[in-house]
Symmetry: D2
Subunit: 233 residues, 4 copies
């Protein structure tokens, strides 16, 4: 179920979501030049010693040279995922507004194999799939609440209740969309925390999709990040 294909710069995630790289200003050379300005040196192209420099910077946690670049993502994700995402304060967000526009009627229903139970103690949970019957029942229960909530939403709006109030019934499984602009340092921090085992499975899939774009645009930086145990500088 992990995001598989980048088509037109878009990776499909979950049942109705995506991560799309809208634009970027990102290459490994920008890291090298930002670091070498310490010595008033500048290059037009990377060479091998620069790859070593990038590994050194990442390992030693010299983070600022990784900030001179920018990724602008367009993302569609459920509200409960967006809520975790927006906790990352370094970066810029603009989001769909249910005050101004009609709410979407797309809601997240996990695939049967993603319906899971929680095992273990607080601080060290793990997750296991539930029985197929419970998985299917869960999906039906989710759909039933989504349908009832959305029908209520529509009824209230139709009767003249302000959208900003009618939205109160919308479940956090509803989809939203937003733009997110971020530099590689903060993107690595996001990936480090949200593609981790401890992160919720749904946001992990989004983080893994973002990670692909980092890898594509800044391959040397990405390789160094992986080699450093995926800890952001």
């Amino acid at each position: 179920m992990i995001a598989e294909v980048i088509a037109d710069g878009t990776i499909q995630v979950l049942d109705h979501g995506f991560v799309r790289l809208d634009d970027s200003m990102a290459d490994d050379l920008s890291v090298v030049n930002a670091a070498r300005v310490s010595f008033a040196r500048r290059k037009e192209a990377m060479d091998e010693s620069d790859e070593g420099l990038i590994r050194f910077l990442l390992r030693e946690r010299h983070g600022t040279p990784f900030e001179h670049n920018s990724f602008r993502f367009h993302i569609r994700a459920p509200l409960f995922v967006a809520r975790e995402w927006f906790r990352h304060r370094v970066g810029s967000f603009n989001e769909f507004s249910m005050r101004y526009a009609r709410a979407t009627d797309d809601f997240y229903v996990p695939e049967p194999e993603d319906v899971r139970t929680q095992v273990g103690k607080p601080g060290s949970y793990s997750f296991e799939p539930v029985e197929p019957e419970l998985a299917e029942a869960t999906r039906e229960e989710l759909r039933a609440v989504y349908d009832a909530a959305y029908a209520t939403y529509e009824r209230l709006v139709e009767r003249g209740v302000a959208r900003e109030l009618a939205r109160l019934v919308m479940p956090v499984g509803a989809y939203t969309e937003f733009y997110w602009t971020i530099n590689a340092r903060s993107l690595m921090n996001f990936v480090s925390l949200r593609a981790a085992e401890t992160a919720q499975r749904e946001i992990r899939r989004y983080a893994e999709a973002c990670e692909r774009f980092l890898e594509e645009k800044m391959p040397v930086t990405y390789a160094a990040f992986v080699a450093a145990g995926r800890i952001a500088p």
Copy 2:
């Protein structure tokens, strides 16, 4: 319905919410001393000329002297309010987690006079109360969705579905709680945007509650902020 009383440092907001000032390090003198360090001067107490200085700083948008203080708030608010709140990136948040803990069964139901309709065009909406009958019907519709969603939530959790999945049905009218630590400059920015006419009524009530604490702790700063048209420096 606007928050009326500060008891024990707590202001009740909406039907189940509050703003509580957990701790603070905030006075007008800190603004004066931060500004006067430009001249290597420092005072032990405010005098009249300092009030003029604070007004000057605010009017001329010299913002940094207003950052050397701190308010730690403990807040209980519906998710749709929290979502707007967390867009303010300067400041620190820790929030209740429906991944780790059982969801609350408190949901926001507006008072009848707060059930409203939206009038006018995008960019210049205003709001008017709906007929009493529709107000009551809306409250019942909200309660019905809340009850059904919460019953589903409980049923799923009881059958073993992970909390982090069961929460998908939770409507954004559900209450959450969080700590928010912020300096006066960012607090004024928050109040400027969220206690404004264009803000949604529910978050306005929270912003007005926060504003009270600013007024209480930093009265000269607050008066200057009001005099400057409530535009943050």
Copy 3:
């Protein structure tokens, strides 16, 4: 003396300085799309209504749509200018290091017409040119200190004193260089404060140079910024 020509994306500033746009991801369309995601709308090209939208956003101080872009500047400026510049915390910096590299022997000597005296009272200074004789004497005094300081620096380094200590003698008129990556919202804030009449003349020239690049890349945004009295959203 104000920066006149953009050649190869470089504007000369002061006697040995420059502002060079190293790369950018910046156009007006990104503002429009970030704003329209509120309504889940997106465009491939600007039209006239979008110009109105940008003016509206700027005037009403909706700042976030102006953050989804990036300018990477390479700058050479005297230390006293860099010190003011680095106070702007939103944005990324990497700078030349006198710990690691030999200090530059370029120092800022103002043109005779820029040697000035300060008139008026604190809070409302203005500046007037000094007599030609004093202007020339000042330039000679500056050069004398610069020469003596640099000779001492070189002597200390040659005798084996660590560069990080030898640099103690370096005057703040010495040139440094740095990379600065910033979005349009923060760039407008920088220009608003540092191209203002109250800013020191030297940093004003740098701010005016940066402003040129904003104008070139985001002309509609820039025009709206000017129309709004050069106050950043």
Copy 4:
């Protein structure tokens, strides 16, 4: 030579500098309560399990609970130290201004045992004391430049040259002063980088002084920070 005594909340650093804790809102309990809001729990006092929680948070790099506190420092340090300090963007600064006020005539002259030479290769320098004779010669060379620069500064100001221009001759060994307000998370990051072996000795002494105040106000957090290898969460 390392800062030894806290008197009146002030630690002397270098020959004319200090770190003074002007005010704080900081205790370990705030960390615990910020973390426990995830479970909607709150305590009036720490117990033993809370110490374990703090160690867990630090080790696992859950950083946000360490942000709900505030330290306001008043600092006097040489310009070259302040320049490194101001690179830390999370936190608030207000500084003495040589545009508005007469420059100080205090300059940093290292103790003889602090005059050092640089040994080894870029990226792995170490420092060794120089011969006593060179140490003394260095101190004299520094004093000579400082005296000449300051005499020039005074002469230019007396002849009517604006302070903002006369300051160009001021060496980066000159003292400045500033207020710095910061939370524990960012303070740990500062200490982690600036009290490290790789940091310049002079800023290390300041970082070590700041560290003392962290230890005094938040002893459990500080112990956990040390146990985690002094890596900030």
